[in-house]
């Protein structure tokens, strides 16, 4: 049974894995997030879109309390994150426990440089979740197979390309068997030709039913893969909706301006019609 | 401690500083010579330099000093405490300086030498006008660091009887039965000198960074 009482959360159902309510955050005098609320259902892929400085990354980082929100509640699968239901700020141990249930993929990969690829993937499941090493190794190798990097398992991250590092980062996050995966601009630091290999892995994950929240500038990805799009500007949720609605018929003016600037060409038809003669 | 005592410490300090200056003045060019020898890969000589530098960087100054002071007269070279002190300081600091110069030489961009070659500069001219000015600049922080290290080891000269600052402090302590105050005075003299050198080194490093950024 949920312990939530605020009205925004009253409509949650058991298939909602993440709910964010009334989230606000300021850095000094700059308000970066202003009363943000939304929910993510199991199996959804939610893309956070918006211009730079809109607060998307900060919002993402508040979900696993890498940034500490000034106000608001975050609930993962029925359990609050960061502040207990009694209103007490969580201690290190409790917070760390919650974080093991949320996977994160970083813009600059953040792989652990002193460990090999395989060790990177195995590290947290063995030492934080305390799972048996053999079981973790088998799973880690399977994950590396899945992202196409099994041959590189004994290589150090410094020897990998950006795209390879990010795929390892995804495998590393998956190894924790998280309820939810967060992606913080996963392809922004990549050379253009390496972006595709990472998006392909993310596409597969989405189609397999992984619950994902993705901050990205890759509009084609959002259009094709997202089950829902949340558009933010200057710390506020401006518009949300399915990709079909958002990309083809945005209702708000700010969304329209954004799409004009960031989407070079209007949405092309997905299949070419052959001329009927 | 009377004012005469303090004066004695100051005159000891002067002796120390003069000897340090000798060591620094001799050690810089000798270190440079050794570094160039290794950089130019002069046969036989570079290997000797390599061994010499490795040995001297591993040898504590007090051991080296005692060795020179006692052993040289034994093989027929009469040395007093001051000469032994200067020789020991010079040998020690030249080895460390060699490594500082060598690091700059090895980091020196080859293209600049090739550019100088391509306009017909011969080796001596190349070295004097292209290489030297730049390695002086890049070596400066390391060399100043080495100078501050040298000054910090000079108290050891008292061991062989040089009437330096340590000797003065020890003597006064023995006479007044208060060993600590003269040593505090001694440290009070050393501290600002070393601090000045360390600050100079930081200033040079910052200037270097700024010049690099502007280039």
């Amino acid at each position: 049974m949920n312990m939530m009482t605020s009205p925004e959360l009253a409509a949650t159902n058991t298939s909602q894995i993440l709910s964010v309510a009334g989230l606000s955050k300021s850095f000094g005098s700059l308000q970066v997030l202003d009363n943000i609320s939304f929910g993510v259902a199991r199996g959804e892929t939610v893309c956070l879109l918006g211009p730079s400085g809109s607060g998307k990354s900060t919002l993402l980082r508040c979900i696993n309390w890498l940034e500490r929100p000034d106000a608001g509640r975050i609930v993962l699968d029925g359990q609050p994150i960061g502040i207990t239901s009694g209103g007490v700020v969580m201690g290190d141990r409790e917070l760390s426990l919650m974080r093991t249930r949320i996977g994160m993929v970083f813009q600059h990969f953040a792989l652990w440089p002193h460990l090999t690829v395989l060790q990177n993937v195995m590290e947290a499941p063995v030492h934080v979740q305390r799972r048996p090493k053999d079981e973790v190794r088998a799973e880690a190798e399977a994950l590396l197979q899945r992202v196409g990097l099994f041959e590189k398992r004994d290589v150090f991250p410094a020897r990998l390309s950006g795209g390879q590092k990010q795929r390892v980062g995804i495998a590393r996050a998956l190894a924790m068997k998280p309820a939810l995966l967060l992606f913080d601009e996963p392809t922004s630091a990549l050379d253009p030709e390496l972006v595709g290999e990472v998006l392909a892995v993310m596409r597969d994950l989405a189609s397999e039913g992984m619950t994902m929240v993705v901050v990205t500038h890759e509009m084609a990805f959002a259009r094709d893969v997202a089950s829902r799009v949340i558009f933010m500007d200057r710390g506020v949720v401006v518009e949300t909706g399915t990709p079909e609605v958002f990309f083809n018929a945005p209702t708000t003016e700010r969304a329209q301006q954004f799409l004009l600037r960031y989407v070079a060409a209007p949405a092309a038809p997905s299949t070419l019609t052959t001329p009927q003669t | 401690m009377s004012s005469a005592d303090v004066l004695a410490i100051f005159s000891g300090a002067l002796t120390t500083l003069l000897l340090s200056a000798c060591g620094i003045a001799l050690g810089l060019p000798i270190g440079l010579g050794m570094a160039v020898t290794r950089w130019a890969r002069v046969p036989v000589l570079s290997q000797i330099v390599a061994v010499y530098v490795s040995l001297l960087r591993a040898t504590p100054l007090v051991t080296l000093l005692l060795l020179l002071f006692f052993a040289l007269p034994n093989v027929g070279i009469p040395v007093g405490p001051i000469s032994a002190g200067v020789i020991a300081l010079t040998l020690n600091t030249s080895a460390f300086n060699c490594e500082v110069w060598r690091a700059s030489l090895m980091d020196f961009p080859k293209e600049q030498i090739e550019a100088a070659q391509s306009v017909g500069m011969r080796r001596g001219l190349r070295f004097r006008r292209v290489v030297m000015p730049q390695i002086v600049r890049t070596s400066l922080p390391g060399l100043i660091n080495e100078m501050s290290l040298l000054i910090k080891v000079t108290p050891v000269l008292a061991v062989v009887g040089v009437v330096d600052i340590t000797r003065a402090a020890v003597r006064i302590g023995a006479e007044t039965y208060e060993p600590l105050p003269p040593f505090f005075v001694a440290i009070a003299i050393y501290l600002p000198i070393v601090y000045a050198l360390v600050s100079l080194q930081r200033w040079v490093e910052r200037r270097h960074v700024r010049l690099e950024a502007a280039a």
Binding site: S96, F156 | L66, V75, T166, A186, V194
Partner: protein, 218 residues
């Protein structure tokens, strides 16, 4: 000359005892200085100026003070504070206190050069406290600081020789004894120099090994 070295060989026990003491002093002082230096470096990086500034003052003072004078002060000064160390205690204390300052500065510099992202990843994956420090923070830090720490250990070895002044029976003191008893200064001190060289080569081999591990991961 060979005859002289033969005489040194007769006294090899004294020399080897001196070597053993030098190594013992250096290893003890090295470990303690590194551990205390790690603690002190957290003081140096503390956000509160009341904590950081005295720490920095201590470090700066040690770095501008000749070790020999500091050793004298520890040796002569501690008794007046009621602490009665013999020359071993005073020598070890002086080495540790002095080099803790240097180690703290080294570790602070190494820490500042570390990238923050892998540590944030550690937080995101549920690491905290001691586990975070041991598995995520410390290994890359040690790999990066290895060579500089190694150099400082060599410095500790050489500073231990100064302790001959307070009659500590380390290597230089042993060589001095042999020299004064048998009048073979060259052989005695050359033997000591070669032994110091051997110690340094061992430390440098360790540093090189750490350097290779770091290089593989760079």
């Amino acid at each position: 000359m060979i005859h002289d070295f033969g005489l040194v060989w007769l006294d090899r026990e004294l020399l080897l005892t001196g070597l053993g003491n030098t190594v013992l002093l250096s290893v003890l002082a090295g470990f303690c200085a590194l551990a205390l230096g790690a603690l002190l470096s957290t003081v140096l990086m503390n956000r509160s100026r009341f904590i950081a500034i005295p720490g920095q003052a201590f470090v700066d003072t040690m770095r501008c003070t000749p070790f020999l004078l500091f050793a004298y002060i520890v040796y002569y000064g501690l008794p007046s504070l009621g602490v009665n160390f013999d020359n071993w205690g005073a020598g070890l204390a002086a080495l540790i206190v002095y080099h803790t300052a240097y180690m703290a500065e080294i570790l602070r510099g190494a820490w500042a050069a570390q990238p923050r992202a892998p540590i944030e990843a550690g937080m995101a994956f549920g690491y905290s406290g001691l586990r975070m420090f041991r598995r995520i923070v410390l290994p890359p830090l040690m790999l990066s600081a290895g060579p500089v720490v190694g150099n400082q250990v060599i410095q500790i070895v050489k500073d231990s020789a100064f302790l001959t002044i307070i009659a500590l029976p380390e290597l230089t003191h042993a060589a001095s004894s042999i020299q004064s008893r048998r009048y073979i200064p060259f052989a005695a001190f050359i033997a000591a120099v070669l032994l110091y060289w051997a110690i340094c080569l061992v430390v440098e081999a360790g540093v090189a090994a750490v350097g290779r591990m770091a290089e593989a991961r760079r």
